[in-house]
Structures are given as C-alpha cells and as structure tokens.
Amino acid sequence: MATTRAILVDITKCIGCRSCEQACKQIHGFPMGSEMKLSPTALTVVEERSDRFVRRMCMHCQDPACASACLVGALKKTAAGPVTYDASKCIGCRYCLVACPFSVPRYEWTKLVPYVTKCDMCAGRQAKGQPPACVEACPVQASIAGNREEILEEAQRRILGDSKYVKHIYGSEEAGGTSVFFISDVPFEKLGFAAAQKQPLPLLTASALGDGPTVILVGGAVLSGLYWITQRRAEVALAEAREKSARERS
C-alpha cells in the first residue's frame, strides 16, 4: 500500500476562501451556491468554528465502517486510498449513514430514486495522476495531497516543529486511522471533530459475525442431539407400553 493517497488539512493555514468547495461543486456539476453543511450537492464544506475555518469531508478511513456495513458492497476502500461508492449496487438501506462515525454520507431524501453521496477523493482524477480538485484549488496549500506515509511524516514534522500546534494528528488513530488528516492550533473537540473510537469500527461487528458458524455448528449439533433424545424416549415409552400390555394379556 505504498501508493495509498492521503490529504492533509492544516487548519492554521486555511483562510476560508471556499475555493475547495467551489472546485468540488464544479467538477461534480453541482449548483455553485455555498452551503453550510455537507449535503448531496456539497461533498466538502468549510465551517467556521472557534475563529478557525474547518473543512468537512469524507475521512476515507483505512478500514471504513461504511464499507463493512454496506450489504451489497457498494462502498469500497480502494487500494489507492479513496473510499468509493458504486451507485449501481446501492439498494438505499442507509446502513452506511448509521455506521459512519464521522456522520459524512448524505442521502438524497428529496429524490424518488435516492442515492448516497459522499466525497470520493476524486478517485478518477487521482488515478490519472492529478490531485483532488479541492487540493488543487487551494491557493494557500492549507490542503495538500500525497502518499499517505509522506503526508503523515509532513504532518508530524509540522506539529513537532511549531509549538502552536495541538500535539495530535486528527485521523492518525481515529476509527483506526484515516486517509484525511487534520492538524490544528485549537483543540479538535472545540472545532466540532467527533471523538471517534480508536479502533477500526468493523472489528466491532466482525466478532459477532464470526460467531455465526459456531452458532450453526454447535447449535445444530445440540438441537440434533436433543431431537435424538426426544425420539429415543418416545421409542422407549412405546416399547415399554407394548411390553406392559403384552404382559397383561398373558
């Protein structure tokens, strides 16, 4: 996974120009008006929190809860890093919305054939060697893209090199690690970042699913055994009754 792509957002550098929002809307062909919250037509937004500009977008987890939740496998973590969505598979169960620890996926509630929407880190552009549209549009390099290892090293270098930074890279361990990282000079909880679990969320359901085969094998064996006992008892009772009546007759 050496070529896994990632994005680093340096909140201290963001000037709130919303070029990333606009670039995103442009390449997706969405209406250009700025939106306050993530929506089916705003896959990234810049929010103002504690005098800082905070960009929201899909975190592209290393082991995404949405991808494990999706029963038809419409959501996938690609080897290149982005978590992609195949609309042709989606049945609209919305378990991905329930599962996402960052409340990122959006649903087209107003449509008659609704789909899930979320950022795909411009997987198509990245495959062609281009950076994500939002990163390319950033005039001050508050968002940068690159290989995940290098991006993490860069983030590390910045927060160690300057005392103003909070000594944590948001995304390095949240939900077991993501492919979008944030560094900031204001504590993340003040910026509206979710206090996500440190472990990959699919592990939580994997243990329950792992019990399935055991339940079938052990349960099946126990029930078959009980059935055998039931049958045997009935046979014995029948034989005893026959013997008894034979004795009485003789």
Binding site: A74, I91, G92, A99, S103, W109, L201, T205
Partner: protein, 400 residues
Amino acid sequence: MTATERTATRKIATRFPKISFWRTIVTLIFAAGLYSMYARFALGFQATTNLTDPQPWGLWVGLGTLCGVGLSAGGFAIAASVYLLGFERYRPILRTSVLISFLGYCTVCVGMMYELGIPWRIWHPIVMWNRRSVLFEVSWCVILYTTVLALEFSPALVEKIPWARVREAYLRWHHSILIALVLAGTLLSSMHQSFLGGLYLITKGRLDPLWYTPYLTTMFYLSAIPAGLALTIMAIYLCVRSLNARVDMNILSDVSRVIAPLLAIYGVFRAVDLINRDAIQYLWMWREETGLFWLEIALLVIAPLVLLNLEKVRNNPQNLYWTCAVIVMGFMTNRLNVSITGLQASSGIYYVPKWTEFAATLATIAAAVVAFRYAVIYLDILPKNPPQQRVMALSAPGNA
C-alpha cells in the same frame, strides 16, 4: 368445515359489536395506509418521513423491522419445543404460532419496500455479497427463514386442495423434510434475532451507554423469545374470545410459566451487563433516555415478573392477555429505545415520526391481523367450538 358451519361461525363473529368497532378502525388504518403508500412511492421519502441524515433509520426500522422480527420469535420457539424437545403439550398452538411468525415476517418484507430507497433492487444482496456486513447476514436470514416459515405453514393451505393425490404427495414430502425445516428454522431465527442487535454494534460511542453493549446480540435474542411467546398468547386468547376457537387455557398458562424465567434471565443479563460496563451512573440521571430506559425495564421485566408470579394472573386468561400486552409494549419500547432514543443525543436532532410513517407501519400490521383472522376462520389453525349446541368431535389439527 362445511358451508353451514362457516356461515354460522361468521354469524357469531359478526354478532359482536366489538368486531364492527374494530372493522371501522381497520378501515381507517387502511385508508391512511393507502395514502402513505401513494406518498412514499409517488412523492418520496421527504413527503412521507421525518428521516434526515443524522437520523437515517426511524420508525420503519425500529417498529416495522426490529419489532416485527422480534415479535415473530414465537414460531421457532414453539416449533423447536414440539418437534425437537418433544413438548407435545404445545402442539395445539403450534400452527398458530407458526402462522403468526410467517405473517410477521411478511410484514417485515413488505416494510422493506417502504424502507429501502430503491426497493426494486431488493434482490441485490442475493447476488452482491459482502460477508463483513451484519445487514448482509440479516437479509439472508430473512430470505431463508421466510421461506422456511412458508414451508412450515404450507400444509394448512395444501390440505385444502381438493385433489387427494397432490395433497397426499405434498404432505408426505413435507413430512420427510419437516424436522430438517424446524432445525434450520431454529438456527436461522436465532442468528437473525441476534444479528438485528448486531447491527448496532457499529454505533459504539454514539448509542447511549444504557443500551450499547458488546452483547447486543445476546440481549436481542434473549428478549425476542419471551416477547414472541407473549404475542402468541395474545393472539390465541383473541381467537378464543372472538373467533370461537377452542383451546385449553392451561396451555397458555404453561407458556406463561416459560416466559417468566426467560424474562428473569434477560433482566439478570441486563443488570450484570450494566454493572460490568460501569453504566450504573446513567440509571439515575435526569434525562429522557433514562426515563425511557426505566419505562422499558418496568414494562418488559419488572411488571411482568410481578404479575406472572400471581396465581390469578397465570390462571386467568384475560389477566394473562393483558400481562402479555405489557410484555409486548415493553419489548417495543426496548427496540425503539435502541434504534431511536439511544441515538438521539449523538445525532443532535430530535426525531418524531411523521404520521405517514405510523400509517404505513400500522396498515401493514393491520393487513397481517386481517390475514391472520381469515386464516383462523377458513383454515384448520385452531380447533373451533361447534357453532350450534350440537356436539361435534373435532379433531386436533394435524402436523403443522
């Protein structure tokens, strides 16, 4: 049943003013349900529901699916008791309990059509697999177990076929696979009940600590069986009261004697789990979640355990009926707490279902109730009292 008997049964049924009252209610529910159906499929989610991105699952999942499946647990419990464990005394209510489960699963399948954004792709999980998804396993359990229930119940319909050859051939085939069916049904149903709880394992950190536990699967399983049995008792009581069915009420008392320890075990599990997770502090906080938690525990565990301990409740069918109603209410509170109340705080919005959400679910349930009623009237589900004073030797229904 001969034609004259049938008319007589119907006459008795229609003589009750109660029934016509209920008919009005059912008609109103169906009318509202028809509008909801139109709104859901012609206008979409936004016109029908109050669902939003922070609350993507609402009443249709909480009540329609979680309660629908949970309350259908009676079928596998009674079938396993009779066929696998040899508790022959439950045989007279076997068909009824299988019918309730089958209709319950039918309501869940119909509910899915409302619930899914793109319902005509409901078959996708059959060919598109994701073995890591709890919902994938749930969907397969629904498909397989609904099939098993349909097969388990099929003799009640097949035995009405006028061609003896076909009938006997089918019943013979059915008899040969019956034990395998019951065994598969028990396993599938057990997994299914558990996995519904497993769906919420992924909401760690967001589902309220009063409900989030790594043992959500166990909790769902342990609560479904007593609740499913309680619903079975209620249905049979109503058949006796309104549909002229003849059932030895001692059977219902026997079932209630099983429900009580099951609820006690569930209560102990909940208590031990809360202590182990250090969640006791949440029990005394002044907030809506805690209030609804206590409502749930009072209805599902405390009140039924007290009531079922009383001789005059266990041995009086009407009291038993109302006690079972309390259990079912408690069970529904639990499922709605897990799916809605417990996630409210972290989602940051307050979800109240739109009336069309209620109407759609109620109409689906009402349809199942009506189907149940006609099945009991026209099929041999339960033995019936002779309509006139004439004494008849009614045979018990055969194998379910």
